[in-house]
Symmetry: C2
């Protein structure tokens, strides 16, 4: 729960006004870069991280450890650092160095904790635009991301005309639907029910049991039925018990749950979870108004087996863009991994990104 | 959490030996009946309840309140009491009068609570066979059920040759798969994490917050994405908040969660949840051995939108039966309700049952 070792910090000089009201000041953005910005500042690509990801998309000179999109950023790779200057910032509201609930509130000297304001994907984008301003990047060559990252690229492309030339949105959505909100509601409930939650004002890792359950629940939607049914035995691996592990798939879930503790703050989980529920690139406008006159090229990717944000929602984005006369491409991909395919199916993602970034 | 007012009690004279070891004695079965058993005892139909259901499938002279399958049992209805004698027992391990964790252990004079043994669907069937013996029913005209009820009818048809002529299994499965076990694991975890659980030895309703969350989670799989997305608004209905209700779908889930408290015991939830995970009609035999020489006719129904036990699993049962030379029928139904369609789409269920029971 801290800045990644290779990240730089930019302290935003102006307060950040938030969409739902209130503002944050002395906001810090932790970000990493790969490659070199060309003299006309036209080769920058913004990688937008998913929910529990961060600035460390890939290893690099400043931090040789593997990133969450390892193998995607470097010379000759999908985000080719021989050509591009690649930027990946950690998320507002997250736990990786960009201001979030575990950051110290400059007004009090204490962590924001339960007092951190509600934020939206629009706020996340606003902050990243400030970072681009700071770096002197008027117009991105591209912005790319999956899941929450794919929501962010859409928000950026739709709400910030002229700031990006190519938008790549994988397994994202333009507007969260009730079913996906229901899933995230369950995960937040797990954290909120943990007696260690204390309205967000906890010591240490706080509601770790609730956080683990939230993560275990997430996995069931991030991955696919096909994958779990192929990967795990169908018969018990231990003596059956109500509280222990009877089936191997339970060990897998428990392991995934434990992994999140100590790396991702429960208040960040809640904050970003609700931000995704509230995501709606059309908020305040009609679809037609929102999409009118966009000059970026949009590449929309959906995964057929996605159980969290189904492929229909990505198709819907693509169709709305086409109807609005926006230059757009559509790719449906089949992967038994499901929603998480963008993190796992790196050959397929590399092929798509090469095509989109040409 | 008690016997339904119209239910009769049969106290099984012999101990019930359990599949996973141990036994229960003085086991009580709460059951309701509709219609009259004919002189040759050949017109009996067993309705097998789903997970949180009970003996009160339908209103009747003994209990005029609506049942969980109201409109299905009566003169001229799907289970036509002009022709059939219909029996519906509450489930072993449940909370509705048949022996379960909230029943008093005759050895101690205290409720079994956390000491209730682990049971399987095979045990549930064994107990219902005892009830049929008591009622003098050698061979059922039919057994029908959905979800856990559909698992039970398969178990009955496959493991008790000669005791049933027609098996109707809706949204059931022959063998639980890891993905469905993962879902139930999450629900059990919610209960187990509630500090009021106390290893099952709780006072009153016990871990109600965990139980509510388990139920809310269940609903997301019992119903379909299509239904929730059509039924609920996509934009917030209240000021956004981390802990409260922002979206209408959250009110719905919370309401469903609250409804289970006081009617279904958390220990029953755990016990029957694990029993479903362990369900495997082939356990101890090969498929071929298990299905050889079955003389019942099997009618298998799957719902295309089922997110808990997908239609592939029902098709798999049908194909295995056909491969074994068993007389079988297959019906795939589309319903935006999803898994719960058997409880909601009563016209469609009536049409199917009429056909199967001819």
């Amino acid at each position: 729960m801290s800045r990644k070792p290779g990240a730089e910090i930019f302290v935003v000089p102006e307060p950040l006004e938030l969409e739902l009201g209130g503002s944050l000041h002395d906001v810090e953005v932790a970000y990493e870069t790969w490659g070199r910005l060309d003299p006309v500042r036209g080769n920058a690509i913004l990688i937008c991280p998913a929910f529990s990801a961060h600035s460390h998309a890939n290893s690099g000179p400043q931090d040789p450890s593997s990133g969450w999109w390892e193998g995607m950023v470097g010379p000759g790779l999908a985000f080719d650092t021989n050509r591009f200057f690649v930027i990946c910032p950690s998320l507002l509201g997250g736990s990786y160095g960009t201001t979030g609930p575990s950051s110290v509130n400059p007004d009090t000297g204490e962590p924001y904790a339960g007092s951190f304001p509600l934020i939206t994907v629009r706020d996340i984008v606003t902050l990243h635009i400030r970072l681009l301003d700071h770096l002197g990047i008027e117009r991105l060559y591209a912005a790319a991301g999956g899941s929450l990252g794919g929501m962010e690229t859409l928000e950026l492309g739709v709400r910030h005309h002229g700031r990006v030339s190519r938008v790549v949105s994988i397994s994202g959505t333009a507007t969260t639907r009730p079913y996906t909100a229901a899933i995230r509601h369950l995960a937040r409930r797990a954290i909120l029910l943990d007696p260690e939650y204390h309205n967000g004002f906890y010591e240490g890792d706080g509601p770790v049991e609730g956080l683990k359950l939230a993560r275990e629940l997430g996995i069931v939607f991030y991955r696919s039925r096909e994958e779990l049914n192929e990967r795990f035995p169908w018969t018990p691996i231990h003596e059956p018990s109500l509280g222990g592990v009877t089936f191997d798939v339970q060990s897998y879930l428990r392991h995934q749950g434990r992994k999140i503790v100590g790396s991702f703050d429960a208040n960040s989980y809640l904050t970003l979870s609700l931000a995704m529920d509230l995501h709606d690139v059309y908020r305040g406008e009609s679809r037609e108004e929102a999409l009118r006159g966009l000059d970026a090229e949009f590449s929309i990717v959906g995964i057929e087996e996605d159980r969290l944000i189904p492929i229909d929602e990505q198709k819907d984005v693509y169709e709305a863009l086409v109807a609005a006369g926006v230059e757009s491409r559509w790719r449906g991909v089949s992967s038994h991994i499901g929603h998480d395919a963008f993190l796992v199916e790196l050959d397929a993602m590399t092929a798509l990104l090469r095509e989109f970034l040409e």
